[in-house]
Amino acid sequence: MLTYLVRRILIMIPTLIAISVITFVIIQLPPGDYLTTMINEMQSQGENVDQSKIEALRAQYGLDRPMYEQYFLWVTGLLQGDYGYSFEYQLPVADVVGDRVFLTFVLNFATIIFIWAVAFPIGIYSATNQYSIGDYGLTFIGFIGLATPNFLLALILLYLANIWFGTSIGGLMDPKYLDQPWSVEKALSVLEHLWVPVVVIGTSGTAAMIRRLRANLLDELQKQYVITARAKGLPPFRALMKYPLRMSLNPFIADIGNMLPQVISGSAVVSMVLSLPTTGPMLIGALQSQDMYLAGSFLMFLALLTVIGMFISDLLLAVLDPRIRLGGGANR
């Protein structure tokens, strides 16, 4: 087990290096760089920018160096905890990100809890009451959640929340709390605003999760040991919880690794629409304006989350399901 852990961790290093190279190349792929964006904007406001000024700016931002050099500067910086400099905000990346990472975690954690809290009971119900009206009804609702465009649902819910509860539109808290320190009122205001994005981001994930749990559980329920347990008089609820449910939990655990980045990137579009102060809109903005260090650091952060999530889910799977053998050498 220990060697497995060590090997698993060591593999993460080349993975991250490969990801950093790909990230950097992809950010640089579109024609032009941050300066082109900036110059276009200056020009569209009627400012004249001539070639020598552009060259000077390019040198100032270090964009005149070859790409591999820029890459090494960035990566060595990352290793020292220096995330580079955001052109757009004219600030170090770490300063730009600030509060947003925390709010992103709050939002995504709430969403994952929501997905589980909704998908779990529905999945179990659907599987145990296969082809009942309840099964069809809940499945139908689940699919609507999956099929409705997130941004549309977001706008409708926002409008209703504003009309019914007077919740201010957009954001994760009432504007008046934005520059205040954390307080009970502020936290409550966050809760008041949080449910809309959580429901919106959660609905699609929920539908998928319901289907997976239902299918797995149905598989297990047919099996001999379940029938035996029932026949021996084990109460139905216990008979369900003790073995088949446990066996069908695999997708939940295996998904942890995927879910983190998926929820974060899935929430980006919703965050854009709802103008939430999370990392999503900032990442999209950074990609659009080719603010490469900001975008690159975000993407590396996501990659790191994925890699760690995968690691955790591998460990949990091994704990949960003894049938999973670690490493080929352990074979009999």
Binding site: G46, Q51, D95, L178
Partner: protein, 637 residues
């Protein structure tokens, strides 16, 4: 007992008449404890007194917070736009220039400009604002190779000649050229103005020529900048309003940091404008920008989350906003925009493809394209018939306006369009689409920056009528950078963008929008670039009408009399109308403006324009104030 109050009151009354005694309530405490000098010492002599009478404004009350919505943290610069304190400013209505920050300005033949500052004028940090700030900009910023590698701003160079800059005394500076520079004053009054000054006292510690090298190195290190020039450039941007430490001359200045989603602007206690009773402006204590995604801003405005909003609202939102007025205390007004054309087609005369380029340069083809557009339909369908139909030219409110400029070749006349196309020799193919001389079908790709669905809507209307003329239209949305670069390199055939910025031009306004002038002109980017770079890049003009326009620009620039300038303008507009270099569609589109019911002094009817106008700027938001009585029914038109 009574006497004790009476005497100070009398003294006060006398003093009020002389200068002003009313301290701003929100500053009273600071004045009382001595952290801020009293009002009389903070105001320059004389202060700039806003003429409330001619502007139809009422005297206000101090206090309040004005909430506005913005889409990006970069929008802090809008506070500089709305604040609109400029050396010289435009007056709304006639758009004449008056001395604003300056006490007075004298111009000799548009060659020698002498500026006089107000006595005791101070930056927002209380430091005196003097000729030194101008000298610092000219000698240590504009002419410093590290800070301005490309030299002084283009507008200060007339045919490459830099001005002679003189400091006459502490309050007087002079710029002189041997040739006229008529763009100079207007560029100072722009929404995004040319800044001739910098707060020298604040910036000198960041300048290598003044600072102690070690201290400077530490500053650069702490700010994580590459060198002192980068640091200086980052900290000295007066327009961006993103540095809370940078002293400004605007009515409000920013506090807080750039990553926030909420920006706060507090009053500048040294602001130079007063109301007719001598009370210092602005009335409103603070302005708040809440950042929201642009798509959400109309919804937020409709939920009463803003006190004054036009940016990010468009005419489509009007009905929704009107309906929301029942639930929230605001009024939605419609201001007319003043671009030469709200949307125009730009045939690329510098297109790479020789067959297309040849066609675009044939005036008959351009006229045919224009004649085959049903502007009436576009106006009715998209703008409820409230816009003006016609060419990209000056608007009816401009003194240069002539009906003919607006309507020539702009009526919907398919028969004539077809006749012109037949005359060029563009035969129709089997499917009714005409063929280029080399046999390719006449399939015209119109590119948009993909920023508004309205452009695509309008293009689909044009598609149908062009098809009747045998021209097939395809729309290709792209991204703004790609869009511009494709046009510059000649890959784009026709593009869509807004027309001339200033539809309210006078004889003294620069006609640059209508003549080859910069690369940014989508109908002739390479000719523009050629002129802009002094012949180093781009392509020389090889079309008589465009050459004539270029010459007329110089005629206008060098003309010293109004009559001569007017004559040049008239011919420029005449050539543009006749040659259809740009195909204007509709202009004078209405802009919804959301105004809180309690907010006073915001005009009912006004012009919403970037330059000149600075959006709300010319209406002086520093004179807006909060009253209690809703004026909804009384002021509704």
């Amino acid at each position: 007992m009574k006497l004790r109050y009476l005497i100070p009151a009398l003294v006060m009354a006398v003093w009020t008449a002389a200068a002003s005694a009313e301290e701003i309530p929100s500053l009273a405490e600071q004045v009382a404890n001595g952290t801020l000098p009293p009002l009389a010492e903070r105001l320059p002599q004389p202060p700039m007194t806003v003429d409330f009478g001619s502007r139809g404004k009422s005297l206000g009350r101090y206090g309040g917070t004005m909430r506005m919505l913005m889409a990006r943290s970069k929008d802090t610069r809008q506070m500089t736009v709305y604040g609109y304190a400029r050396l010289v400013s435009y007056r709304p209505g006639d758009f004449e220039l008056f001395a604003d920050i300056l006490e007075k300005f004298e111009v000799e033949d548009e060659k020698v400009f002498t500026f006089t500052l107000r006595k005791n004028h101070r930056w927002s940090d209380g430091h005196p604002f003097t000729a030194e700030d101008f000298r610092y900009f000219w000698e240590d910023v504009a002419n410093n190779e590290a800070l301005s590698p490309s030299g002084p701003p283009n507008i200060l160079l007339v045919d490459g000649e830099a001005p002679l800059f003189q400091v006459l005394d502490e309050r007087t500076v002079r710029y002189s050229w041997s040739k006229p520079n008529p763009d100079f004053l207007p560029s100072l009054a722009k929404a995004s103005p040319l800044y001739l000054y910098r707060p020298a006292h604040y910036l000198k510690p960041m300048h290598a020529a003044f600072a102690d090298p070690e201290a400077l190195a530490k500053l650069v290190e702490d700010a994580r900048q590459r060198n002192w020039a980068a640091l200086h450039n980052k900290m000295d941007n007066l327009y961006r309003m993103d540095n809370p430490d940078l002293p400004v001359l605007q009515p409000w200045r920013v506090t807080g940091n750039a990553t926030s989603t909420r920006f706060r602007f507090e009053r500048n206690p040294y602001f130079h404008r007063v109301d007719p009773k001598g009370r210092q402006l602005p009335y409103i204590d603070e302005v708040i920008f809440n950042v929201a995604s642009p798509g959400l801003i109309p919804a937020k405005a409709g939920a009463g989350d803003t006190d004054l909003q036009a940016r990010y609202l468009s005419f489509d939102d009007y009905t929704f906003l009107k309906e929301a007025e029942d639930r929230f205390p605001f009024d939605t007004r419609l201001w007319r925009t003043a671009k030469g054309s709200h949307m125009a087609l730009f045939p690329n005369l510098n297109a790479e493809d020789p067959a297309w380029r040849g066609l675009f340069r044939d005036v008959r083809f351009r006229r045919a394209l224009s004649l085959a557009i049903n502007r009436y339909e576009i106006n009715q369908v998209i703008y409820y018939g409230l816009a003006y139909e016609g060419n990209n030219t000056v608007l009816p409110d401009s003194p240069l306006f002539e009906k003919d400029y607006q309507t020539r070749w702009a009526g919907f006349d398919l028969k004539q369009a077809n006749r012109l196309l037949d005359e060029i020799g563009l035969e129709r193919g089997e499917d009714g689409i005409r063929l280029l001389p080399d046999g390719r079908p006449l399939e015209l790709i119109v590119e948009t920056a993909g920023e508004s669905t309205k452009q695509t809507d309008i293009l689909s209307l044009i598609h149908d009528s062009w098809l009747d003329a045998g021209i097939k239209l395809f729309t290709r949305p792209s991204q703004r950078n790609v869009f511009r670069n494709r046009i510059f390199s000649g890959q784009t055939l026709v593009s869509v963008w807004s027309g001339a910025e200033n539809g309210l031009a006078t004889a003294f306004t620069s006609p640059a929008d209508f003549v080859p002038y910069t690369q940014q002109q989508l109908q002739w980017p390479q000719w523009g670039q050629h002129i802009e770079t002094g012949g180093q890049a781009g392509a020389a003009i090889d079309m008589p009408a465009a050459e004539r326009l270029r010459d007329l620009y110089f005629t206008w620039r060098d003309a010293s009399t109004r009559a001569a300038k007017l004559a040049a303008w008239k011919e420029i507009l005449e050539i543009n109308a006749d040659q259809v270099f740009t195909i204007g569609l509709v202009s004078g589109v209405l802009q919804p403006v959301v105004v809180h019911d309690n907010l006073q002094n915001v005009p009912e009817k006004a012009i919403y324009n970037w330059d000149p106008g600075a959006h709300f700027g010319v209406y002086l938001p520093d004179t807006f104030w909060y009253g209690e009585a809703p004026t909804k029914s009384a002021s509704a038109d």
